[in-house]
Assembly symmetry: D2
Homo-oligomer: 131 residues x 4
């Protein structure tokens, strides 16, 4: 299981607001793309997990916006597993525009079954991360 | 200047994910609607502010998700001015589905000019809030 | 079964593009809200239909944009059942900003089961509409 | 000026509805990404056009949905300049999931200035297309 990954995302036209800035709510979809690609890079496909009845829900998320990102800019989104605590995983995110740190975020995820009840993390999801 | 307001929002079909739950990123648009309606209830229209060259940017936002909200549910979104510190305003949000607290969030806003530089808050935006 | 309905929608901040205009893709979510409210006004709740295994899919949609709609404007969205042909329903939409016709659209829907196969329309969905 | 282009887009989690299908309204953002990349492949950057006061508005768009696309599928979106008529450009789109044609769409664009008035197409935008 990998604990870090990074992807590139180009800011889409419909994602900017009337100031021409990437709308703040969309950073959370960028974070999600990054963690799903981290999963894929580890050999897991989230779609297959859902098909087998395992869902991931976000229980907390947060973002600090340090600089504006604008339409057509090519951003780098980095994700890192920060901690695994019981049934929860914490991820940390950074969004870079070349050398400029645009945003830093966090998300806490829990795994649930189709019934919405929390499930224990599978062992392969427990990377060697101290918390 | 009012410091509290609440609105009702019905969860739209395109806002739910494949689990049928309100997608976590959309809570931030709900928060935004609530604070813009708080502004309107205070006699200010954000569109007019932007036309006069004053923009509000989100510098930090956060949400804790306590229960799922589903398509077609009618939610109540409450916003409260929590603190005014220098050029920044902090809002607190709660999302209720009748008696059930679905989510609690926070956002910090700064006012900027067309040049992106921070501007002092107008006096009428400084409600009698202790911080 | 009613064949016409209208709702009001205020253009949200995150729905406008960098020109300050309601982004063209969002008109289709406005249309959807209108037809779901038409359904509700007829005593049907789409969520309950989905729970019983009946889904509506859009097989064609179209919109002509006649004028810009801007952030904070209060629009009226009208929906009308235009035709019922076999397993398909055609709706016509108009978006008005007071006396100004902003957009006119069309959508064709089909009902499918959980297996994705087309299902015959229930009789109560067959209003007295000539096509 | 190129008249055809194709891009790949992976269906994002937040883009699917509660049936697990790519929400119909999002196809129009896929079309937009394709035509902006066609522009880029021709040496034009839309952001630079907007900065110089030239905006493109969609005056009509349409899509026929032939098959469902699902979360995580890698789609190919093809765009082709179909006609140039006066101040308008018509594009045709196809969305493929490998050998399966998922959707076919059309959009008509007009160029406008900051005042919203239609502007003549620059000569380099007039490819050798019969209409």
């Amino acid at each position: 299981m990998r604990t870090e990954h990074q992807i590139e995302i180009r800011v889409a036209y419909h994602e900017v607001d009337s100031m021409g800035r990437l709308y703040h709510g969309h950073y959370f979809t960028y974070f999600e793309k990054a963690r799903l690609e981290l999963l894929r890079a580890s050999g897991e496909i989230y779609r297959e997990m859902e098909e087998s009845g395992v869902y991931v829900v976000v229980t907390h998320c947060e973002c600090r916006f340090l600089a504006a990102a604008r339409y057509d800019e090519l951003l780098t989104v980095r994700v890192r597993v920060k901690a695994v605590r019981g049934a929860r995983i914490e991820h940390e995110y950074e969004v870079w525009n070349q050398e400029l740190l645009v945003a830093r975020g966090y998300a806490t995820l829990a795994m649930v079954g189709r019934d919405g009840k929390v499930r224990r993390l599978p062992d392969q999801w427990r990377p060697a991360v101290r918390s």
